[in-house]
């Protein structure tokens, strides 16, 4: 890498991306319309917006689980497809999606095993990650013996297994109760500070987006567009903690995002949780 000659490489670079889903009888739905977005290495970016604004679609496009109708997506300077093949990102969904026949350790080892890591190396890495997400006492448990929050922690550990420089998260805390959710957010902030990975995080929750992010991308539906991008000035990840939620700047950012979401429709954007 010649950092002097080339500009700093983006973790994600989305350029003029549109995604049109063909409906029946010629009817089509424009999920994303000419969306452009860049994510810097180590940056935490949240995508927020009402249901149907295309934020999950955008994440799936970056993950190469779907292909854009037009426009281009680059991940670390490569095509999304190549980045997927090179395992440049880790991913976590709203459903933990653990394999029920594997223990916590087995589930975290899965990506390593699939990509041919040695047994000893796998064990070591899994133990490390289990400690990182605070499940040391549950390493041998099966997913059905864990609570929803614990399962989601395993899923996050699994997404970190191959030390990716980019994490893609699609409402990973969406199915959790409020208390577990805040605890998980605190942990994610800590984990991000430790791994210094870039994160693209899809969420419905305004406080969640503000608490976690360096930047919040506010999207609007039909067609899916980026309405505005808000920088959050809450300091570095490693300095963020529970008391941040009481901070005046935090409240300020929350109301800014809320205003942006409601935008020119004062009745309020439906489908957004303002908790």
């Amino acid at each position: 890498m010649t950092t002097a000659a080339r500009p700093v490489q983006h973790a994600v670079e989305v350029t003029e991306v549109s995604r049109v889903f063909a409906g029946r009888k010629g009817a089509s739905v424009t999920a994303l319309d000419a969306v452009s977005l860049t994510v810097a290495p180590g940056e935490f970016v949240s995508l927020i917006g009402p249901s149907g604004c295309g934020k999950s679609t955008l994440l799936r496009l970056i993950a190469d689980l779907d292909t854009p109708t037009s426009g281009s997506i680059e991940v670390f300077g490569k095509t999304a497809s190549q980045a997927r093949i090179d395992q440049d990102y880790g991913i976590a969904f709203q459903q933990a999606g653990l394999l029920p026949w594997r223990t916590v350790t087995g589930n975290i080892e899965l990506p390593l095993e699939l990509h041919g890591a040695g047994k000893a190396a796998r064990r070591e890495r899994a133990a490390e990650l289990i400690e990182l997400v605070g499940l040391t006492d549950f390493a041998g448990h099966y997913p059905d013996q864990l609570s929803g929050g614990m399962q989601q922690r395993v899923a996050i550990a699994r997404s970190l297994a191959e030390s990716p420089s980019l994490l893609l998260m699609d409402e990973p805390f969406g199915a959790l109760d409020e208390m577990t959710r805040e605890r998980m957010q605190n942990e994610l902030v800590r984990i991000c500070a430790e791994t210094s990975a870039a994160v693209v995080f899809v969420t419905h929750s305004i406080p969640e987006a503000v608490f976690l992010s360096n930047r919040v991308v506010v999207m609007s539906p039909r067609p899916g567009r980026i309405r505005d991008v808000l920088g959050v000035n809450l300091g570095r990840m490693s300095d963020r903690g529970e008391n941040l939620r009481e901070d005046a700047e935090f409240f300020h950012s929350v109301s800014r995002v809320r205003e942006l979401l409601h935008g020119d429709t004062p009745t309020g954007a439906r489908g957004v949780e303002t908790r």
């Binding site: 993950a63 190469d64 689980l65 997927r84 093949i85 395992q87 990102y89 991913i91 969904f93 459903q95 933990a96 999606g97 653990l98 394999l99 029920p100 026949w101 899965l110 990506p111 095993e113 699939l114 990509h115 549950f138 448990h141 099966y142 997913p143 059905d144 013996q145 864990l146 609570s147 929803g148 929050g149 614990m150 399962q151 989601q152 199915a175 959790l176 109760d177 577990t180």
Partner: protein, 314 residues
Amino acid sequence: MTPAGSVRTAPAKAGAAARGRARLSQGMPRRILVGALGVLVLALLWELYILLGPEDGVVVGGVTVLPRASEMAMPHLWVMFERILEPVTGSASAIPMWQAVLEASLFTLGISAVGWIVGVTVGLALALVMQRFKLAESAILPWVILSQTVPLIALAPLVRRWGAQLEFGAFTWENWMSVALIASYLAFFPVSIGALKGLGSPDTNHIDLMHCYAVGWWKTLWRLRLPASVGYLLPALRLAAASAVIGSVVAEVSIGLRGGIGRLIVEYAGAAGSDPGKPWAPIFGSILVGLVAAGFVGLISLFLRRFRRGEVAA
């Protein structure tokens, strides 16, 4: 998926799981007891009918609606069991009935096992091909279902005739192979249907994950589809075992193969007029074959228990 499931604390869940295991281990003797009770009730009903039922049955308008309770038509249970211990025929060289039945049962069990293995292999192979290629599914599946509408009796002579024409080198087609083939013809069906459903059972979440990991079809099959299919496959294997036994017994009769329990059932049925206990011995024999076959599949499911863990609720 239930919200209650996600807020339940882990110790409570682990406790529930432990209780579940305890219930299972406590339940084992109980289940055996209940099973034995069921057989006992059946035996009692039989004897009760012999005791209370009319000697000539109940005939309504020339149709017998309830069987005759005579010694010849419905022998007492002890007659059946005494008969098993006695020699097959009156001749001095005759072996005991239980020995003849046991030998025939083993013979049939062996043929059923061959049929089961062939059927399971073919069924699995078909399911894999159908899973892999959508086109193959639409091409093969209707034929798989149609295959089961062909009556066994029609098939037996055909198989036998085709088999007789097979001959290469030292290999000659034997009658028992025809029987095994027919057994496999019945056995493959539940396996192919069950395996197809099982292989397609992982949810999109897991499929997406495998796609993200950039692994191919084979690795996805081995790490995801096959383990996920176990819950569907085991009942299919049990069904296949039962079908293989029934197929063998019936095919023995229609092909005319000697030495098996099917043949014995037909042979001994002829003696019912003078020796009412005799036809029951091979019937018990065939039940035994079925139980052993089911037990064998039960043994397999014991080894695959890990893959039948409850789906994750979150």
